[in-house]
């Protein structure tokens, strides 16, 4: 297991360095003066320009600049927002819980519905039910998030008025953030109705963000299940007269889930990409919306730092998934 971990890290470190080079080059490759872009100052005297240039280290050799940058990043210094003047990492930590909360709900939604749907489709292979599930999954997979989100808002919030339109909680509730997770904070606040409000605000964004992973998981589960169901040991189990529930639920599902776990892990990256659109539509104050807003504000420092942090998070999650996979399926360690 230790060697496996080392192997994974050996891939991860160069990848991170690669991403950091891209993030580092980002400002320097943009059209315009990088000093002006990073400082946010539009009108600068030559003296002021030289001063800021020196402060930012632009007068040093490019390799040294990169090493400075990397050293800063390793110490958690991802730069300072041009607009808010707050460290990028602080803003990230402030907003990240909102994205985690939404992503967790979406992945739970996708797993809870996706795995049973895939299993049913596999057992009833070729039936109308199978075709219905797989057809729906295909539609879900190809649904543009933006359109899907607006459609749900118009129908569910607008016409039926079942859920609120956007935001994390009704603006009537106002309490300090403790954990950053609205479901928890609303309970902690002790305000009546706060939790219901937070929950109802989560419903639509969860569905929108969870739709694509749901479709992917359902399809993956179905094909993994079909493969396992044709294995000899399943046939043996069936021949021994074990009830279908036991055969499918215990013998087949456990093995079928192994590739599904990887799929779920891979969905984390997809999820963060989806969060950018989902959060924007639902005014959900997480990192996805933060990135979009920063692009509109031309807050290059945030775009640069934010991208690197998000990339690092995705890499760490993938590492965790790999390790988890190695635990449940010892064969791949070799």
């Amino acid at each position: 297991m230790f060697r496996f971990l080392l192997g994974r890290l050996a891939v991860l470190i160069p990848t991170f360095i690669g991403v950091s080079i891209i993030a580092f080059s980002f400002i320097r490759l943009l059209p315009g003066d990088p000093v002006a872009l990073l400082s946010g100052e539009r009108v600068m005297s030559p003296e002021r320009h030289a001063e800021i240039s020196h402060q930012l280290g632009f007068d040093r050799p490019i390799v040294m600049q990169y090493l400075d940058y990397l050293w800063g990043v390793l110490r958690g210094d991802f730069g300072v927002s041009i607009v808010t003047k707050k460290p990028v990492i602080d803003q990230f930590l402030e907003l990240f819980p909102a994205t985690v909360e939404l992503s967790l709900c979406a992945i739970i939604f996708a797993v809870v519905l996706g795995i049973p749907a895939g299993v049913i489709a596999a057992i009833k292979r070729g039936s109308i039910l199978d075709q219905l599930i797989m057809g729906t999954a295909l539609v879900g997979f190809s649904m543009p998030i933006f359109w899907w989100g607006l459609l749900l808002i118009i129908v569910v919030s607008g016409m039926l008025q079942w859920t609120p339109v956007s935001g994390r909680i009704s603006l009537m509730f106002f309490f300090p953030s403790v954990t950053g997770f609205m479901l928890v904070d609303s309970l902690l606040s002790g305000q009546e109705g706060a939790f219901q409000s937070a929950f109802s605000h989560l419903v639509l964004p969860t569905i929108v963000l969870g739709t694509i992973p749901l479709a992917v998981i359902a399809r993956q589960t179905r094909s993994a299940m079909l493969e396992v169901l044709s294995e000899d040991y399943v046939r043996t189990a069936r021949a021994k007269g074990l009830p279908t529930f036991r055969v499918v639920g215990i013998h087949a599902l456990r093995n079928a889930l192994i590739p599904v776990v990887t799929t779920i892990g891979l969905q984390i990256g997809v999820m963060l990409a989806g969060a950018i659109l989902t959060e924007s539509i639902f005014s959900w104050p997480g990192i996805g919306k933060w990135m979009v807003d920063s692009v509109f504000r031309r807050d290059y420092a945030v775009i640069q730092g934010g991208l690197l942090i998000i990339a690092a998070v995705i890499m760490l999650v993938n590492l965790a998934v790999d390790l988890l996979y190695g635990l449940i399926n010892p064969r791949i360690r070799h």
Partner: protein
């Protein structure tokens, strides 16, 4: 079961009663996050709505719904005979807001006014560069650094501002968001504590609402300022729910999650008007779109040719096709909501046959010309390409061939300034300070040739009228002069005036007292919710 029903009823009643005890909260679904809360540093309307029109007030204010100024923190003012000295008498007893982060100990005085203006003006002021990267764009843009001679404190309640030259629009400038009056006492405290940046994050002023808190990109909260000099507001709490997508804003408005929204999608306006729970206000925006001929190049140096082309353009068709009716054809170079708009002037009617004849009379045959179409959508012109195509068809009817050209936006703006430019340019303008000078002199004055004056049009008669108006402080006199200037403009036709887009504001039916501003900003003093 019966018990349960009773319990339900009791809970419902309790909730209802709790509801009536709640404070009156007005929710504005704003379109974006403010850049900061110091209105002097920024230029976006979003920022002004969130800072200048809530927390702050100014020496002069724009009278609600108009572009005229009225006394604000300055109760009255006198202007010296040579027009260079403005003496402002401050309103006595104006209280700053008391917030969780600052408790003021004194009322507004001359020091606050001087602080607010000088920090933007003097580069040796400690506050001049307090935000890295911040620049006083509007202050500089309105030419104030060159205009101001001095700002003096006569006594605690009197401020005298000296100018280097006569400039009538100066008063209107002081009603603009950048001229918001801050508390020097608060600023001094922040400076002493080394927390100067806080001025831009936790604003404090004399306006109708005091700042409570801002959650980045999500929500801004305000409370009514109980001691506001204009009287306490009817609503207790004001909330900006930042909702960047126009379709989502509309859904929130429909669901009653907000009371008013800015900038609807053109396609949604029909549904908004049909919804019995909503009402929709509309008026001409403070803008104009135009086609500027190059009046220095033949044959466009001839008035007859320009007039003929103007008569060949079907403006209504452009308005219908580009704005789906949410604009009105423009007659004058200033919009009808602006003071001094000349109602008497008649627009060039759409008469292709007459136009053709005019062109023949002028001896112009087989004319082919370029029409420049902007590559971006602006409020005054949503689709310049489409407008250019319609004009191309219109001009074809009178035998004029049109080639449509376009450039990248920055290049377009730059290239179109050239004095020897080839072709007529589609462009427009949105007013900054509600002063006619900001349109007529800025866009058509002789000084602006080679710059904002895309027609390269220097007409002595027009320029004299506009210059005289700029140097006069008497509003009636200025109105007369600008009225005459518009007549000269229409006679000489350096532009084809195209449209003024409509600004549309949908809100819940129970919102009362909201007045649409011709300047395009959103202010919520005087607003109430009736149940």
């Amino acid at each position: 079961m019966k018990k349960l029903t009773t319990l339900f009823a009791a809970t419902a009643l309790a909730t209802l009663m709790a509801g009536t005890a709640w404070s009156k909260t007005f929710v504005f679904c704003s379109e974006g996050s403010p850049e900061g809360f110091d209105p002097g540093l920024y230029t976006a309307g979003t920022t002004f709505d969130a800072a200048a029109h809530t927390v702050y007030s100014r020496l002069l204010e724009f009278k609600k719904g108009t572009t005229e100024t009225e006394p604000g923190l300055a109760e009255s003012w006198t202007i010296s005979d040579d027009g260079l000295e403005y003496t402002f008498k401050l309103r006595p007893g104006v209280k700053f807001q008391t917030t969780e982060f600052f408790t003021p100990t004194r009322e507004l005085n001359a020091d606050d006014v001087i602080f607010s203006l000088e920090r933007q003006w003097k580069s040796d002021n400690a506050w001049h560069g307090y935000v890295t990267g911040g620049s006083w764009e509007y202050f500089a843009g309105m030419g104030l650094p060159d205009l101001l001679e001095s700002i003096e404190k006569v006594d605690d309640m009197t401020v005298k501002i000296k100018l280097k030259r006569k400039e009538a629009p100066f008063l209107a400038n002081l009603a603009m968001p950048f001229a918001s009056i801050m508390s020097k006492e608060y600023a001094d405290k922040l400076q002493a504590e080394g927390k100067m940046n806080q001025l831009n994050q936790m604003p404090l002023g004399t306006g109708p609402f005091s700042f409570v808190g801002y959650q980045q990109d999500a929500v801004i909260r305000y409370k009514a300022h109980p001691d506001y000099w204009g009287g306490k507001q009817k609503i207790d709490d004001l909330v900006f729910a930042i909702t960047t997508d126009a379709a989502v804003r509309f859904q929130k408005l429909q669901a009653g999650e907000c009371h008013l929204m800015p900038y609807p999608n053109a396609a949604d306006v029909g549904a908004m008007k049909a919804d019995p729970n909503l009402k929709v206000m509309e008026q001409a925006g403070l803008n104009v779109a135009y086609l500027a001929y190059n009046t220095t190049q033949p044959p466009f140096d001839k008035v007859e040719v320009r007039k003929a082309l103007n008569k060949a353009i079907n403006k209504q068709a452009i308005v219908d096709a580009v704005f789906q009716g949410q604009a009105q054809p423009a007659t004058n170079p200033i919009p009808p909501t602006m003071w001094s708009y000349n109602e008497q002037i008649e627009d060039d009617t759409y008469e292709p046959e007459v136009a053709k004849k005019l062109l023949e009379d002028a001896g112009v045959k087989d004319l082919s010309m370029k029409v420049w179409a902007m590559p971006v959508a602006r409020p005054y012109m949503l689709n310049a390409r489409r407008a250019a195509e319609l004009m191309q068809a219109d001009f074809a009817k009178i035998g004029v061939k049109v080639e449509i050209v376009s450039y990248e936006w920055a290049e377009y703006l730059e290239k179109s300034k050239a004095k020897d430019r080839d072709g007529a340019v589609i462009l427009g303008w949105t007013g900054d300070n509600g002063d006619p000078d900001n349109f007529l002199d800025t866009l058509l004055g002789c000084d602006a040739v080679g710059g904002n004056n895309r027609a390269q049009w220097c007409n002595k008669e027009f320029d004299d009228l506009v210059t005289k108006a700029k140097e006069t402080s008497d509003v009636a006199e200025r109105t007369k002069l600008y009225g005459e200037a518009q007549a000269v403009f229409k006679r000489e036709a350096p532009w084809a005036t195209l449209d003024h887009s409509l600004s549309i504001v949908p809100m819940r039916k129970n919102v009362e007292g909201f007045v649409q501003s011709p300047l395009g900003d959103f202010a919520f003093d005087g607003v109430d919710i009736v149940e």
